[in-house]
Structures are given as structure tokens and as C-alpha cells.
């Protein structure tokens, strides 16, 4: 066997500074010893020590781990101070995750979104792990659920089944909030750490491509022909930026809380993949089939809310932007390509290095990779445009 063929060159392509930092950290952490899930009593001790300095006299109680999720260690807790009780959520990075991100960046953006869209209130940040074993942020708890209590109706897929009644209550909010996020004026109100890909017409697409391409290499993603084809196709077909907006980065049902009775969205969650980029990038993500639902008659709904053409038309109408079908097709491919990298490279690398608290979940999720590969076959079969 020609082993030179499977050696991977170290590449250093241009990307946002924070993404370079994440990739370097991931590469450098590879040799660290295994990570162990934090015990609840350890978190009680750490939180108590933190608040002894931050809010002397306050008492920590009711610490309990939050189930679900695949990337952060999360704990609810109560802080009692002067007869007042407040509920908080601790979000702490494991040593390595299926999506490794920057807590401060997420914290800064959520803070900027206060009053614009429903978000949790970010209260404390320890991005350099001075007080916590890993980078951590603390937010105020918001009530709501991510899926209806009878969500078991849907038996397959990663998406959440809302059903007709909730769908009608949620869909307008879902789209209006996306439009509102995209309208954030980042030139007038720049956010620290968020760089603007406006050096040339293709920089937004290039930064996105370079970051995920390098993550794939660093995490030693196992090449398969359709991924190789998709990677080269993306490199060769980068679109000009249609318009730069603040992207959420992971906008879909499952990443917001809602009140089950009223259908009111109470908080948009999981902002860690946010960046400034082309609005088509968020649209492609929202429209991914894997995060949607299929009716018994085969009708697809993105996030179980909108049929594809309905979503595109309504986004255009509400945002005043035009959806370029070729650019959207590029970001359709990019979304499935990125998801494949997340489950087939990032998640498995975190599990292999034993740097995560949920190795068994990460290897379980790896089984979703053929679905994304199938998406790539379907999308690339359409050629250069949709």
C-alpha cells in the first residue's frame, strides 16, 4: 500500500481568527488524557466557589444535569440570595465536542440579541476556564420545551415532529425571528470577535469552506468518493456573496423553546455556530431534509413548518431579499457536507480521543452519515444549479 497517499498535508487557509483558534486548540489537545463527565457534587463545589467570589452570601442548590444535547455539559441550578431564588443554566465545554465552539462569542451575540428576538439572558462567562474546569457560560433559565410531549409520533429522522396545530402557531414566529436576526446591523453595532468577510465577493463562502475543510482534515475524516466530489465541487463553485447578514448557523426546530399550550417561542437556542455570512447559508440549513418531516403523502416540510417553495417565497417577501437559486443550491450542498463532517469526523474524533462525556452518543450519531452522503448524491446530481 502506498502510505504516502493517506498522509494529510497540514494546510492553513484563511478564516476568522476565532475559527483558527478553535482548530489549533483541537489539534493541540489531541494528546491530552481522557475527559471524564463532571459529577453533580463536583459542579456544586465549583459553582459554590465561583459564587462565593461573584456574589458573596448567595447559595447554590438544586444542581441537576440537563439531558439531551450532544456537545456541552449542561446543568440547571438555583441561586438563592437575600430571600430571592433565581434559576440558571451552566453550559460548559467538554475537552472536545461534536461541534467545538467559543463560549464568549455565543455569549456576546446572545447579549446583543436581547430585545430583538427571544433569547436567554447571558449572565456570567468564563471563557478562559479560570473558575471552571473548561470554558463555561451561565444563562438565566427560560421556560419551554424543544419538542411536543407527544413527539414520539415521529419514528425516524433527526427532525422534530410538531404536527398541524403547533405548526400553524409557530411557523410565522420562526420565520420572522430569522428575518430579524438577519437584519441585525453588525456594521453599526459591531460585535467583538465577529469578523466581516467582505474583502472580496467570495470571501464569505471561502471562510465557511476553509474552516470546515480543515476540521475534516484535523479530525481525520474518512474520505468517501461523494464527499471528495462535494468538497471539490464546493471549492470550484463558490458563489459571490449575495448579502452579508448575521447568521444563526443552526436555525431549526429543536433549537428553540416554545410554550406547548400557546405555541409561543420563548427562546432561540444554540447560537454557537453564528457568524457573519451570506444569508443563503442559513436558508440552506433550514431547508435540509434531515431536519424536516415528510407527511404520509411525501410532502416535505423544513423544520416541520414550511414546504420548501413556501419558505423561500415567504423569506423573500418578509426580508425584501432575493433568493438566488444557484447560490441556495451551493449552500444546500454546503449544509449536507458540513453535517457529514460534524457526525463522521468531528463527533467520531472526539469519541476516539475520549475527550467527550458522551462518546457512546457520538458514535451512535455517526450512523447518520450515510443520510448526509445520500443528500450529497441527490444534490450533486442536479449539477451546478438547482
Amino acid at each position: 500500500m502506498n502510505t504516502a497517499l493517506i498522509e494529510r498535508p497540514l494546510v492553513q487557509n484563511e478564516m476568522e481568527t476565532v475559527h483558527r483558534k478553535i482548530i489549533d486548540r483541537r489539534r493541540n489537545n489531541r494528546g491530552l488524557p481522557p475527559y471524564r463527565a463532571a459529577l453533580t457534587e463536583e459542579i456544586v463545589e465549583i459553582l459554590s466557589a465561583f459564587f462565593a467570589k461573584e456574589r458573596p452570601g448567595a447559595r447554590v442548590s438544586g444542581v441537576r444535569r440537563v439531558g439531551g444535547g450532544a456537545s456541552k455539559e449542561q446543568f440547571f441550578f438555583t441561586l438563592s440570595d437575600g430571600g430571592k431564588e433565581e434559576q440558571f443554566l451552566l453550559r460548559m465545554d467538554p475537552r472536545s465536542a461534536i461541534t467545538e465552539t467559543d463560549r464568549e462569542r455565543e455569549f456576546v451575540l446572545i447579549d446583543a440579541m436581547q430585545g430583538r428576538v427571544p433569547v436567554p439572558e447571558p449572565v456570567w462567562i468564563d471563557n478562559d476556564a479560570v473558575h471552571f474546569p473548561q470554558a463555561a457560560a451561565i444563562m438565566r433559565v427560560v421556560s419551554g420545551v424543544t419538542k411536543p410531549s407527544d413527539a414520539g409520533v415521529k419514528v425516524s429522522g433527526l427532525g422534530t415532529w410538531l404536527g398541524p396545530e403547533l405548526r400553524e402557531k409557530i411557523k410565522d414566529q420562526f420565520l420572522d425571528y430569522l428575518v430579524e436576526i438577519h437584519s441585525y446591523d453588525w456594521r453599526a453595532n459591531p460585535l467583538p470577535g465577529f469578523e466581516v468577510p467582505d474583502a472580496d465577493a467570495k470571501q464569505a463562502a471561502r471562510w465557511n469552506f476553509n474552516y470546515w475543510r480543515e476540521l475534516w482534515e484535523v479530525d481525520e475524516g474518512e474520505p468517501r468518493p461523494v464527499m471528495s466530489l462535494a468538497t471539490q465541487w464546493m471549492a470550484d463553485n463558490m458563489p459571490d456573496t449575495a448579502g452579508l447578514v448575521m447568521l444563526h448557523g443552526d436555525y431549526r426546530t429543536g433549537n428553540y423553546l416554545f410554550d406547548e399550550a400557546s405555541g409561543k417561542i420563548t427562546a432561540l437556542l444554540d447560537w454557537e455556530l453564528a457568524r457573519i455570512g451570506d444569508y443563503h447559508e442559513d436558508l440552506g440549513w433550514v431547508l435540509m431534509e434531515i431536519f424536516g418531516s415528510f407527511d404520509s403523502d411525501g410532502t416535505f416540510r423544513a423544520s416541520d413548518l414550511f414546504e420548501r417553495e413556501e419558505f423561500i417565497a415567504e423569506y423573500e417577501r418578509r426580508s425584501g431579499r432575493t433568493v438566488n437559486r444557484e447560490t441556495l443550491h451551493y449552500y444546500d450542498v454546503a449544509s449536507s457536507w458540513k453535517c457529514n463532517i460534524i457526525v463522521a469526523a468531528n463527533g467520531l474524533a472526539a469519541a476516539r480521543s475520549q475527550h467527550n462525556h458522551q462518546d457512546v452518543l457520538l458514535t451512535f450519531l455517526g450512523a447518520a452519515a450515510p443520510m448526509f452522503a445520500n443528500d450529497l448524491v441527490r444534490l450533486l446530481s442536479k449539477g451546478a444549479e438547482a
Binding site: G157, P225, F294, L361, M371, A373, V377
Partner: protein
């Protein structure tokens, strides 16, 4: 008489399901989730155990068939020719360990894809995606069916 792999896996699944799970504290959500996932993994491994070697051997054979067709069809400049010749060597090499052989062929295909983009002929640029997508549509179908027990796949619903 020695225990079969199926008997060993079945006993671990039963232990986790009937002894470990019920004794986990109600508030140990992470432990409960992980035991359930471990049980799920083991049940699927038990289901697939006898077919694993056949599945991987077929995956290698499929990938070699794709690589052979690519190698035969690709023409172009020096990069394309060099990548094509490397791929031909890989396809013709003794398989050895299946996973390593599969990785090597896949990497060879990746390098050929890159080379054709750099200096492949017009004919190669047209044929390369056609060949890959035709082979991969069949291969992906097999992979999806293999991982169907994990419950993520919407292939039944989409169909």
C-alpha cells in the same frame, strides 16, 4: 464448549437492561441516557455481527469497482495522469486488511478528484461526477440500509 459472541452480547444487554438500568437514580439522566444508548448499540451489533465482514468486503469491492472505472476514464495533464496511475496501483494491490485498503482506495479517489479539477480533460471533468454519483447512489443505499436500525434515517418516510 465456549460462549458464542451472540450469547456474550445478549448477556451484557440483559445485565444492562434488567440489573443496571433499574438501579440508576431517577436524577442520573446522563447515566440513564448512556446506558440506553449502550444497549441500543449492542442490540444493533448483535443483529449485524455475523454480517460485518461481508458488509466491509462488499464496501471495498464496490469502491474498487468505482476506482477502476474512474482510472480507466480519466484523461488530462500530468496531475491527472499521476493520480490515475496511483489509483490503478491501489486497485490492483492485494487487499490485505480491509479497512486500511478501503481507506487507501478512497484517498486515491480523493486525489484523483482534485487532480481532474486541476488539469483533467473536458471529457474527464464531465465523466468524473457521473461515474462517482452513479456508483455512490448504490453504495449509499446499502450504507443507509445497514444503519437503518439506528432510527435516524427517513428513507422509508421519504419513499
Amino acid at each position: 464448549m465456549t460462549p458464542t459472541t451472540d450469547e456474550r452480547l445478549a448477556s451484557v444487554i440483559r445485565s444492562l437492561t434488567e440489573v443496571v438500568m433499574p438501579h440508576l437514580p431517577a436524577d442520573a439522566s446522563l447515566a440513564q441516557e448512556q446506558v440506553q444508548l449502550a444497549i441500543g448499540h449492542l442490540q444493533i451489533l448483535r443483529l449485524q455481527f455475523d454480517s460485518v465482514h461481508g458488509f466491509e468486503a462488499e464496501e471495498l469491492a464496490d469502491t474498487r469497482a468505482l476506482a477502476a472505472e474512474l482510472a480507466e476514464a480519466m484523461t488530462g495533464g500530468t496531475s491527472t495522469i499521476a493520480a490515475r496511475e496511483s489509483l490503478e496501483d491501489l486497485v490492483g494491490a492485494p487487499a490485505g486488511e480491509v479497512r486500511a485498503a478501503l481507506s487507501a482506495v478512497n484517498r486515491g479517489v480523493e486525489l484523483l478528484v482534485q487532480a481532474v479539477s486541476a488539469d483533467g480533460s473536458d471529457d474527464a471533468r464531465k465523466k468524473l461526477p457521473e461515474i462517482i454519483l452513479r456508483h455512490e447512489s448504490q453504495r449509499v443505499e446499502k450504507d443507509r440500509r445497514w444503519f437503518l436500525p439506528y432510527g435516524f434515517d427517513t428513507m422509508e418516510a421519504a419513499a
